[in-house]
């Protein structure tokens, strides 16, 4: 007697989980939406954080992440494999986020000019109420200063904070040389520290 086992959904997912991105991309190109779903799960956080870094809004970032995955699926035939799939995907997401940011310029202006209540962290576990208050106040100052940075400095800084991508990958996403990216991140941090010091945070 021959027993035939068909993989259940969980088994299928577990088997897909061991497959490389390149293989999933190849399957997705042939119309395997389950393989593409696995790619969505793998890179969901990175794409969302990049969009969040660009837009500063959770709801907008969700929309852009979804649009980016849909666009990636439809453009799958154009992916040549020069960069990693993740970098290619992040590039799509970043461009879409910037495009939406341009459309939402007025709202972005409000974000830049500072309404820290939207994304200020609670944090402060194990701190005294006074210490937590000071930290929260400082976090608000830092966020306001980050928003006030010029976009060419702010975007790389936030994108670096958004994920675990390497400088090489982020340079490809932003379309700038790696050295330029590193300089911009360092310059952004230098300006932030300079301004925080001017606000009295650096003088203990």
């Amino acid at each position: 007697m021959i027993a035939v086992f068909f993989p259940t959904g969980a088994l299928l997912r577990a088997s897909i989980g061991c497959v490389s991105d390149a293989e999933l991309v190849a399957r997705a190109r042939q119309g395997d939406t389950a393989a593409f779903g696995e790619l969505v799960d793998r890179h969901r956080a990175a794409v969302y954080r990049a969009a969040h870094a660009a837009l500063g809004s959770a709801s907008e970032a969700e929309d852009v992440a979804q649009e980016a995955f849909l666009a990636a699926y439809r453009k799958m035939a154009t992916y040549r494999g020069d960069a990693s799939f993740k970098t290619w995907l992040l590039t799509i997401a970043w461009r879409r986020a910037l495009s939406r940011r341009r459309r939402l310029a007025s709202r972005w202006h409000r974000f830049v000019s500072g309404d820290p209540s939207e994304s200020a962290a609670g944090g402060g576990e194990g701190r005294t109420p006074e210490g937590a208050l000071i930290d929260a106040e400082m976090a608000q100052h830092v966020q306001r200063l980050v928003r006030a940075l010029p976009a060419r400095l702010r975007d790389p800084l936030l994108l670096c904070a958004a994920g675990e991508q390497t400088y090489h990958e982020m340079a490809a996403v932003l379309g700038v040389p790696e050295g330029t990216l590193k300089w911009r991140v360092a310059e952004a941090r230098r300006r932030l520290k300079q301004r925080l010091t001017a606000l009295g945070y650096g003088n203990d």
């Binding site: 939406t33 969901r44 969040h52 970032a61 969700e62 994304s119 962290a121 936030l158 925080l196 650096g202």
Partner: protein, 172 residues
């Protein structure tokens, strides 16, 4: 506050500004969208329907039957002040208008004949003169004289014969 502390605070703020893992059901949402028919097909249908409707409306506007001019101001309206008498086309269901004074003066006018569509009565100079107190402008027929064209007489070119005398020999 040391520089390390500043760096740490900056990192915390940045992580907060670009944090999150995205919606948990993103996979389901994306796959659902992929399963949907492409929106372009639907939008094409909508665009086609809209274009057809627009074309029909434009055709109707261009080729519509000209609306009958508003009912002429006749003696029937003389009792109404001009400002209070809006000009409106005759109602389709209304019967033939009451005979106007000019029509009565013309006496035997049978227009419009029974069963024919109602045609508004045009202004006649008598009515205009009586209503406005202004004399109608008389237009005299223009007498346009035909343009006279001169006839050109083309004479053949005549070449007069020339007398050419031989050159005299140079004198040494």
């Amino acid at each position: 506050m040391t520089e390390d502390k500043l760096d740490r605070e900056i990192d915390l703020a940045l992580q907060d500004m670009a944090a999150g893992d995205g919606p948990v059901d993103l996979r389901r949402r994306v796959l659902e969208r992929l399963a949907e028919p492409p929106p372009r097909v639907a939008s094409r249908g909508v665009m086609l329907a809209a274009a057809t409707i627009a074309l029909a409306v434009a055709t109707a506007v261009v080729f519509r039957v000209p609306v009958a001019p508003p009912t002429a101001t006749t003696s029937a309206h003389r009792h109404v002040p001009p400002a209070a008498a809006p000009i409106s086309p005759p109602a389709a269901s209304a019967g033939p208008p009451p005979p106007t004074e000019s029509a009565r003066l013309r006496g035997s006018s049978t227009w419009p004949p029974a069963g024919r569509p109602q045609v508004p009565e045009l202004l006649v100079p008598d009515d205009v003169e009586a209503e406005s107190g202004m004399e109608p402008i008389e237009v005299s027929p223009l007498a346009i004289a035909p343009m006279e064209t001169q006839r050109w007489a083309i004479a053949p070119l005549q070449i007069e014969p020339m007398q050419i005398e031989p050159l005299a020999e140079p004198q040494p």
